[in-house]
């Protein structure tokens, strides 16, 4: 499909050294942070919006699939090139163009690493809040494409809450600008928010205008362990209904605690059902301290067995150690994991956890549950070894069951990872056929030749491509427990 004539043309656009076709290169651009793999036919790394535009014009003319990608730390196989074609590596476009200290905005290219941006604006006393766990190895473009969240979303919101405008290269290579620095803007459809979360299926986002906040000066952290998980959930609700909005409220279930303890030996209690790590932040030390003390008191009154409040930065780091140890501990226990991110009304957390534990027992596969208790975004992680077909089958069954639980409880498939290839098969159950039709109409309007990240998000067979995830037994809606 991609012949030497097309390669020559690509080399003419970005330079020879930024067009890669060796088997080693194709392997290196075949994956993301799931266990899915599919090689592109060529890896192209543009440096400017204009180059992206020229690449898209070529792809449009020749009908070549284009899969935009940043650092491939995604958890839904959204950037894995399902149908080959061009892997469009946007990491070279990593300039911070402007930090506007008066309007509290920053203008950045798509390949800026999120942590680099957060550091750069912090030097000027400003704050870019979205904090996905992959903050050090993911790009603003990738965060916007999947609308990434993070622990701080409860108080500060997700990536889309900070995207005010962008430059997008359309499927045919035309370049458009949406939104701007203005806070209020109802001129026309809100295309900015249409592209956020579109996972590279509607256009290639190359530049962003992002909203910033003043940098909070103080943070205080508390850790509480609860013998009963329902009490932890009551605690979370009580804190919020009291009128306190902590920056983060992180929940870990007993399987997660046990897995961390086994790998890291942090002296975590093994006879409790839940642990919460709660952080309060703000501009006034007194207010922040009062807030964390009030939170600690609520924890104690709702059944926490122990509550620790960090008084120094070192103590704060120590409290976060357990949270940060989750992923590594899970990975040490098992070669592969399927990290889900169902999102449910937060009042339903106890029921969801109970249902997922039952799935784990029934399917005979370990599932660790942790997540953001304040916003109801849970991360059930199914542990398995992909080299063992029996374990893979169990994992698939459990994943389908978990999606069923989310829908039954009035929630949704994905809170912050996105749909990608991973959850495509379940989308219609969640959204219904009419929503899928509306989405399909938008996709057809913006990408009539279906060259932008084909086979992602919108369900349906992809001609000539084997699915990255084949789900069996067939998912059964609403029968999670």
């Amino acid at each position: 499909m991609i012949d030497s004539r097309i390669l020559k043309e690509l080399e003419g656009i970005v330079g020879k050294k930024h067009v890669l076709t060796a088997p080693e290169d194709l392997v290196a651009y075949s994956y993301d942070s799931t266990f899915a793999e599919r090689r592109p036919e060529v890896v192209v790394s543009p440096d400017t919006t204009d180059q992206v535009s020229q690449i898209m014009k070529l792809a449009w003319r020749e009908e070549i699939p284009v899969v935009p990608r940043g650092m491939a730390s995604g958890l839904a196989a959204a950037s894995v090139p399902l149908t080959g074609g061009i892997a469009l590596n946007l990491c070279r476009m990593n300039r911070i163009i402007e930090i506007d200290e008066l309007n509290f905005t920053t203008t950045v290219e798509t390949g800026v690493i999120t942590q680099d941006l957060a550091d750069a604006v912090a030097k000027k006393g400003l704050f870019y809040p979205p904090d996905p766990s992959s903050i050090k190895q993911s790009t603003i473009g990738g965060n916007a494409a999947c609308n990434a969240g993070g622990p701080r979303c409860l108080k500060y919101g997700v990536t889309s809450d900070y995207v005010r405008g962008m430059t997008v290269v359309l499927a045919d290579g035309r370049v458009i600008k949406t939104g701007g620095k203005a806070i209020k803007n109802v001129t026309g459809y809100n295309l900015t928010q249409l592209f956020v979360g579109s996972e590279g299926t509607l256009g290639v986002m190359t530049e962003f205008i992002l909203k910033l906040l003043p940098l909070p000066k103080f943070a205080r952290t508390a850790k509480a362990v609860f013998p009963r998980l329902t009490d932890a959930s009551v605690c979370v609700n009580k804190i919020l209904t009291t009128g306190i909005t902590p920056a983060t409220m992180e929940l870990m279930d007993e399987t997660t605690i046990a897995t961390i303890e086994e790998a890291m030996h942090l002296n975590l209690p093994l006879d409790v059902e839940a642990m919460l790590i709660i952080e309060s932040d703000g501009m006034d030390e007194r207010v922040v301290t009062d807030e964390i003390e009030a939170i600690a008191a609520i924890c104690r009154s709702t059944g926490a067995r122990e509550v620790e409040v960090a008084r120094t930065e070192a103590e704060r780091t120590a409290l976060w150690q357990a949270r940060r140890a989750i992923s590594p501990s899970l990975a040490r226990r098992s070669p592969n994991k399927l990290g889900e991110d169902i999102s449910i009304p937060r009042s339903a957390i106890p029921e969801a956890v109970a249902a997922i534990k039952e799935i784990s027992r029934r399917r005979g596969v370990p599932i660790a549950i942790f997540g953001h208790a304040g916003d109801g975004n849970l991360h059930p992680n199914i542990l398995f070894d992909k080299r063992d077909p029996a374990q893979v089958e169990k994992m698939k069954g459990a994943a389908a069951d978990i999606f069923g639980v989310a829908l039954r409880l009035g929630g949704t498939l994905s809170g912050e990872h996105g749909v990608g290839s991973l959850k495509r098969a379940f989308l219609e159950q969640d959204l219904g056929p009419d929503v899928i039709d509306a989405m399909t109409a938008i996709k057809k309007a913006l990408d009539p030749k279906n060259i932008l990240n084909p086979g992602k998000v919108i369900p349906g067979p992809v001609p000539g491509a084997e699915e990255l995830f084949s789900w069996s037994p067939a998912p059964t809606a609403g029968q999670g427990s």
Binding site: E24, A28, N89, S138
Partner: protein, 436 residues
């Protein structure tokens, strides 16, 4: 573990599937990898290299020139080993893969001669360096630089010329350091000094300072002359067999000293980390496995050993603003971070920390020669951090780092000296202050 299925690796001592299968591809290693930061290419990242190794083990990739090149581009700074949440060791996998490549005899040209022919023979290394010393000593170097001849040299060659330390001694440290030096004051320990090759030939002043500092701290110091290369250059190049031969020789030498010693002291970060790894290199050798453990248990970096016995306060003080560069092979390979800084504080200097003190300087042994562009880009990042501190001296206990940083100083036209921490402490003992 499943056996390799029809892989190009069959029959070789090679990394196994178990060493790669837990990689969750989270990409955290990309955030700390110097070669990724410069290239922004997945193939030059730890995660990418693990993926390539995995596919090679599975038989999906061959040991092509391309594949080989990716494995040799790693600086082995170990930052990925340290950060990997799962415990994968991408840098080690790269070195292990170089050994596979070596066994398959696809090694790059010239290197076999250098690593099998020269490094193991310190005398030959010195002889080969003689023209360089002569160039330095004859005044030709001064003339060349004054007339600006180096300006017309190709960029790379000019940088290689500039990597030479400012002052080369005519006779390597092997000929200057007495075979035995007696402790000053009350005797606290008896130690053997492991004289590294590059250190001894290129940076003999540092070696002398180390012996001096040890003696000042009450150590009898013996320096065996027939020491051989620690073996790291061979490991880096992929020749594990030759590295093992070096290890066996050094183990025999130091365990066979007339009088046993309390510690074997290295003042080259790379040598020290190799000596401590001998038990891993020789785990499969029944005759040496146990002896390697005995040997390694005694090995200390000079700063580490001084911290253990406590530094005797010097009479003098070095009045200078100093910044410290953590050699990869000291901070990550040996976990030695605070002790060299304690040496500097004991010398009385004003220590100013640079940003990213423990990021690689790009030396990685021979990378300036083999991968010039990346090496220089990594160095420039480092030098920007150095310049920010305003320090007049960079201290670092690794000859590779010292020469690379020396080049960085010249490239930027800074007025900064590069020394071994021992040199500053020795100067403090020599009070009133002598010349560095």
């Amino acid at each position: 573990m499943e056996a390799n299925k029809g892989s190009a690796w069959d029959g070789f001592e090679a990394p196994t599937e178990e060493e790669v299968s837990h990689c969750i591809r989270c990409g955290l290693c990309l955030a700390v990898c110097p070669t990724y930061k410069e290239s922004l290419r997945e193939t030059e990242s730890p995660r990418g290299r693990v993926a390539l190794v995995t596919k090679a083990i599975e038989g999906d990739l061959d040991l092509t020139g391309n594949f080989t090149d990716h494995m040799y581009k790693c600086l082995a700074c170990l930052a990925c080993n340290e950060i990997c949440p799962v415990g994968i060791k991408p840098a080690d996998l790269c070195l292990g893969t170089r050994y596979v490549i070596h066994q398959a005899r696809r090694q790059p040209f010239l290197k076999p001669w250098l690593f099998r022919g020269v490094f193991p023979r310190t005398g030959l290394l010195e002889a080969l360096t003689k023209p360089v010393v002569l160039y330095d000593r004859s005044g030709l170097r001064k003339v060349v630089n004054r007339v600006g001849v180096t300006k017309i040299l190709p960029r790379r060659l000019r940088d290689m010329e500039r990597m030479l330390p400012g002052h080369l001694s005519v006779r390597g440290a092997r000929h200057q350091i007495p075979a035995a030096v007696a402790a000053k004051g009350e005797r606290r320990a008896r130690v053997a000094y492991f004289l590294g090759c590059v250190q001894g030939v290129m940076l003999a002043d540092g070696c002398q300072a180390t012996v001096e500092v040890l003696a000042e701290n009450g150590c009898d110091v013996v320096t065996p002359r027939s020491v051989k290369c620690c073996g790291m250059p061979m490991i880096g190049y992929g020749d594990k067999e030759e590295a093992r031969a070096m290890a066996r020789h050094n183990i025999d030498l130091f365990l066979g000293l007339d009088q046993p010693v309390d510690a074997i002291i290295a003042d080259c970060a790379t040598c020290g980390s190799s000596l401590k790894e001998y038990p891993h290199w020789l785990a499969g050798d029944p005759a040496y496995a146990e002896r390697a453990k005995q040997f390694a248990a005694r090995v200390r970096d000079v700063s580490e050993f001084l911290a253990e016995i406590g530094i005797r306060p010097p009479a003098g003080k070095v009045d200078a603003v100093v910044t410290y560069h953590d050699p990869c092979h000291l901070c990550r390979a040996q976990g030695v971070r605070t002790q060299p800084r304690d040496m500097l504080r004991a010398a009385g200097v004003t220590l100013v920390e640079m940003n990213g003190a423990d990021t690689c300087c790009g030396s990685a042994g021979t990378q300036l020669v083999t991968h010039y562009e990346t090496s220089v880009a990594v160095l420039e990042r480092k030098m920007a951090n150095v310049a920010e501190t305003g320090a007049e001296i960079i201290a670092s206990g690794c000859p590779g780092c010292q020469m690379q940083l020396g080049l960085g100083v010249k490239r930027r036209g800074l007025k900064v000296k590069v020394v071994h921490p021992s040199q500053l402490l020795a100067q403090a003992y020599r009070s009133p202050a002598g010349d560095l």
